[in-house]
């Protein structure tokens, strides 16, 4: 049932990395909700961000386009964006749409945080 309604939560880890957990349908509203969370974390000074998509099974190209836009904005602010817990289909979509070129894609949160940390966190 309501499981496809997007739920977004954010936290800033002790090392300054901002983590956004999003589950549900990433359509235009869903993509916008993630983008809003990115903006909020940016305003709070977090420029290294991880989006955890466990719980997201279905997406559309409009939602992913919005993620591309926010990625562009983050890169302009010299920030970094990574994703983790993508289903194979979502990972493939990120590849096709070029998101994977500019954002790290990691299997899980630990791997992602390790990689983000080792290359210099916030």
């Amino acid at each position: 049932m309501e499981q496809e309604q997007l739920q977004v939560s954010t936290e800033i880890l002790p090392d300054g990395v901002g983590v956004i957990s999003a589950s549900g349908y990433i359509n235009n509203e869903g993509g916008q909700a993630v983008a809003d969370a990115v903006e909020r974390l940016l305003e709070e000074g977090s420029t290294t961000l991880l989006v955890d998509l466990s719980g997201t099974r279905i997406i559309n190209s409009i939602g992913i386009s919005i993620l591309l836009e926010i990625l562009e904005k983050l890169l302009d602010a010299s920030g970094r964006l990574a994703f983790c817990n993508l289903t194979p289909t979502i990972a493939k979509t990120f590849e096709i749409m070029g998101l994977a070129q500019y954002a790290g894609i990691y299997p899980d949160r630990e791997t992602a945080l390790g990689a983000l940390g080792s290359h210099g966190g916030a």
């Binding site: 349908y25 359509n27 099974r57 279905i58 559309n60 190209s61 409009i62 289909t89 493939k92 096709i96």
Partner: protein, 139 residues
Amino acid sequence: MGVELHLPLIPDVELVAAKAVEVVGRDLGMTPEDIESAAVATVEACLNALEHGGNSKILVRVDVVEVEGRRFLQAEVEDHGVGFDPRAVPGAGASRVHGCAAKRGWGLTLIRELMDEVQVRSRPGLTLVTMRKGVGEGR
């Protein structure tokens, strides 16, 4: 004996088509990954049909078909809008985030990448996108 859906333009109605693909794909014993790919492709086709289909409902059929001895899940999405020339749509190229990034125009590209066989037929008043995903084969 497939599923047939007549969907009006209401938010997220494409999820009904995604669910139909999921139920049929599970019944066929497809892998979760193949089911998801077919569902996302079907969602994209529905979004195009809903966007360009004028005020009439779109039609979605999800079936099993056998072509040259191979079984496929087949999703067809039909709308009755103005239509378009599929050959005139430029494939969304390598995305460039900076500069003239292709932020839209990914629908047909995704459909072609996620499905095994895709056919787009369109004339004013009838656009039919036929997509097939093989059963029992990974990609």
